[in-house]
């Protein structure tokens, strides 16, 4: 089959288009931080997840160690069950403290892990025992107003 300059142009167009898709995936999107080498699943129950969403980051000491994969309501406990996949390189003690934190005052929610001192590590599928729900700004303000009005009486 003969090659023409037209083919060259079409080829360049297709290559440019695929390169654009790659840029979208890697530079604009989060695919580069998405796939971690090998992960294991951990769970945590929260009384309130606030604005936490799937794909939110899981951080320990500020370092990204995993991602939230699923958030569901557990109908036995009536608490939110958050499943996260954590990089296999990072193991956490059994008494690790999981809390929902906010990046900045109004930023997005993420899960912060505060390791404890237990010698045994959490295994795949296990749940954190100690959790702290999301801080809801409106609740805090309501509490603050309530307590100040109590004092002024």
């Amino acid at each position: 089959m003969e090659r023409t300059t037209l083919d060259l142009w079409v080829g360049a167009f297709v290559v440019a288009g695929i390169a654009a898709l790659l840029v979208l995936a890697l530079k604009v999107g989060n695919l580069s931080t998405y796939n971690m080498s090998e992960t294991y699943q951990l769970q945590a129950y929260f009384t309130n997840v606030g604005g936490l969403k799937p794909t939110a980051s899981v951080r320990s000491a500020g370092v990204l160690v995993g991602r939230v994969t699923e958030i569901k309501l557990d109908t036995e406990r009536y608490e939110a069950r958050v499943t996260m996949s954590v990089d296999k390189r990072y193991q956490f003690p059994r008494d690790t403290f999981a809390n929902i934190q906010t990046a900045g005052l109004l930023g997005e929610n993420y899960i912060g892990l505060l390791p404890g001192g237990d010698s045994e590590m959490l295994k795949n599928g296990e749940a954190f025992k100690k959790t702290q729900p999301a801080m809801i700004l409106e609740d805090l303000i309501a509490k603050f107003i309530y307590s100040t009005s109590e004092k002024s009486k």
Partner: protein, 262 residues
């Protein structure tokens, strides 16, 4: 009786519209049915991709660049009021990836390549080239229509991706280089907000659907055009109007399905 007459006109137009809709659907099915030749002789598709895809590159890239620059400028002005200029990357990238990239690229594609397709097919019909093909036992749908259809369907997502990337680059140039938003937060906030599956892939699906809609409308209008100079010009106009409306309507439907409830 003017009321009866206007009622009659409305009824006739409605019936005509439904009739054309059914005809276009049958035409689309026939195109899919006779697509075999396009893949056996892929150079047919490749040749059409040159005219519909490669020739649209300049308008897509220039338009994407300017749209991104405007987004950067307007987004900065608005975000500055809330002291969150660092979210400029998120604003530019999300609006381009989800909506503006696929929709504007499809609108440009409809007016740049779709109208050309209609005019070409319509003129072929007016000069009885299609009838001549039929006489020589060459199926005009598999030889003329299907390659153009597939060239549009393949080109459209690539063009939309290029539009989005140049748009993000335009936003970067205005936001970071000219205005001086922090470069690190521009990219990192963008990356944490844009999800590959949820945003990028849905944008690609959108542009694929738009590609199908635009090329089917353009080819059907050309194939259906009255074989006169007037008929071809009317068909070209209808292509641009109808495919633009179809793009916006489909965009609303797709957005309602894709980005609801999160």
């Amino acid at each position: 009786m003017p009321i009866v007459r206007s009622l009659r006109v409305i009824g006739k137009r409605t019936v005509n519209g439904v009739w054309r809709m059914g005809n276009a659907t049958r035409f689309f099915m026939l195109t899919l049915l006779y697509s075999g030749l396009s893949f056996r002789r892929f150079q047919l598709v490749r040749k059409e991709m040159f005219y519909s895809g490669v020739m649209s590159l300049i308008i897509i890239i220039v338009a994407g660049m300017f749209v991104g620059m405007v987004l950067g400028l307007q987004g900065y002005e608005t975000l500055k009021r809330y002291g969150s200029e660092s979210a400029l990357g998120t604003l530019v990238a999300l609006s381009l990836v989800r909506e503006l990239g696929p929709v504007l690229a499809a609108l440009l594609f409809a007016s740049r390549a779709g109208s050309a397709m209609t005019a070409e097919i319509g003129l072929m019909k007016a000069t009885e080239q299609i009838a001549a093909m039929d006489m020589m036992a060459v199926n005009p749908i598999s030889r003329l229509i299907a390659p153009r259809f597939w060239s549009g369907v393949i080109s459209m997502p690539l063009l939309a991706a290029l539009f989005t990337v140049t748009g993000v680059f335009g936003g970067y140039v205005v936001g970071v280089v000219v205005i001086g938003v922090d470069e690190g937060s521009f990219w990192s906030q963008m990356q944490s907000a844009v999800d590959f599956q949820h945003d990028v892939m849905n944008g690609v699906i959108k542009s694929f659907v738009f590609g199908v809609a635009v090329t089917v409308i353009a080819l059907y209008e050309g194939f259906d055009a009255p074989p006169t100079a007037e008929g071809v010009s009317g068909a070209t106009t209808r292509t641009v109007v109808q495919s633009s409306l179809a793009i916006l309507l489909l965009d609303f439907i797709l957005t309602a399905f894709m980005f609801r409830g999160d």
